[in-house]
Symmetry: C2
Subunit: 222 residues, 2 copies
DNA sequence: AGAATAGTGTCTGTCAGACAGTATCGC
DNA sequence: GCGATACTGTCTGACAGACACTATTCT
């Protein structure tokens, strides 16, 4: 059955999946195995399938499962890109969502239905992404940054247990600039999102106390 | 031509058009002239038409023009509502946008293609809106409030010339609580968005200085 | 002891909230 | 002068930035 592209827009979800690696904010890119934009790097994305998906968030979850076999804790709408030109297949609406992957799961990805996968430092983009994905990625980064600036803690990016210094490095990676240690820790004092553990991380120096996210933590709901 | 609803989602734009009337924040509701949800009050909205629209914003502008004959200065995406159940016609994606109408234009509306139009106080909703429009409206109000709380000035709601007291009343109507006068004015001192005029509004008391938005004002871009 | 990292204390400037005070109009 | 509204001044507390300081580990 042929659908008239003059009558119905394509509905797409694209996902910016972030993680922290080497104290840098990275985003998942996939190499497209099919036209259009074949062999180009892109955000993982795909058509919304009304017979399978229950919502845009569900579609985004399915796409991530299909392409890299991950289940995602946090998923959030950013904004929408639309128009006749942004996809050569026709008038389209791309719904951008972003998601956060804990840093102890970045190596658990399994490539499927695509040519390749990579984590790319968001500040070192080649500038040759498919479609309008570079604009999309910029919007997703801006949104994530805005949340952290509004004092939301990106705990979904952290492993189960972490030190305050690790959390600070994560926030710095997102914001793109250093934060004063005492300012950062002062803010955390009153936070109900963190649970102080009686465990310590032992290294080459003074051990650091470990923390974890509180049970009902949701990013962005203060 | 029949389209398989199992394969392609409906793409809709819904618009929350706000204005200030009697120092209250009001939203435009239209009474639907067609099924589904015939005769129910709803946000103005409609299908995106790829053969006519150049983007979701363009579609929203067209919808407002079609139903109440207004051209809108400020239009912004809020978020998206999706799923198989929210519209009886099938799996749909409703893109919610909001817009601001200057208070000296609220009587310029011309009803077209709909049964009726009304401005409704957002804090006095009957609770019987069509589809998920009540949730949508709540999201739009939250977004508008967040912007004003972040010190964006809702100048698109104001007439061309206005006093600081009028602007304060507008912000209070959006936020839903009073603001201290001196705090409000102190903030405005440094604002590049306002142009101080040499005109005054004369009334029963001491005349108040008039202001207007600066030439390149855009809501939310500080 | 010294290096390294964890964690704290304190000074300062900025700004919001609260509220009182002054200024300028019509009557 | 009086009422009403426009507009300003000032005190206070909360908090961010800057930076120095103490604490605890390993070598």
């Amino acid at each position: 059955m042929v659908i008239s592209r003059e009558l119905y827009p394509l509905v797409i979800v694209d996902v910016a999946l972030f993680c922290i690696e080497d104290d840098c904010l990275k985003v998942l890119l996939v190499k497209r195995a099919e036209a259009p934009e074949k062999h180009k790097w892109a955000l993982p994305g795909g058509m919304v399938k009304p017979d399978v998906d229950d919502s845009l968030e569900g579609a985004a979850r399915r796409v991530l499962n299909d392409k890299v076999s991950v289940d995602i804790a946090h998923l959030e709408q950013v904004c929408t890109f639309s128009g006749p030109k942004r996809d050569p297949r026709g008038w389209s609406v791309a719904n951008l969502l972003y998601a956060l992957l804990p840093s102890d799961m970045t190596h658990a990805l399994v490539r499927k239905k695509i040519e390749a996968v990579k984590w790319t430092n968001v500040s070192e983009l080649g500038g040759d992404l498919a479609f309008d994905h570079e604009s999309q990625l910029n919007q997703a980064v801006l949104r994530l940054r805005a949340k952290v600036e509004a004092h939301a803690l990106p705990l979904h990016l952290m492993p189960e247990k972490f030190t305050l210094t690790e959390l600070q490095r994560t926030c710095e990676a997102i914001l793109g600039h250093p934060i004063d240690k005492s300012v950062f820790r002062r803010r955390l004092k009153g936070s109900a999102d963190l649970v102080e553990l009686e465990e310590f991380e032992r290294g080459q120096q003074r051990p650091a106390r470990l923390f974890q996210a509180c049970a009902d933590f949701k990013f962005g709901c203060n």
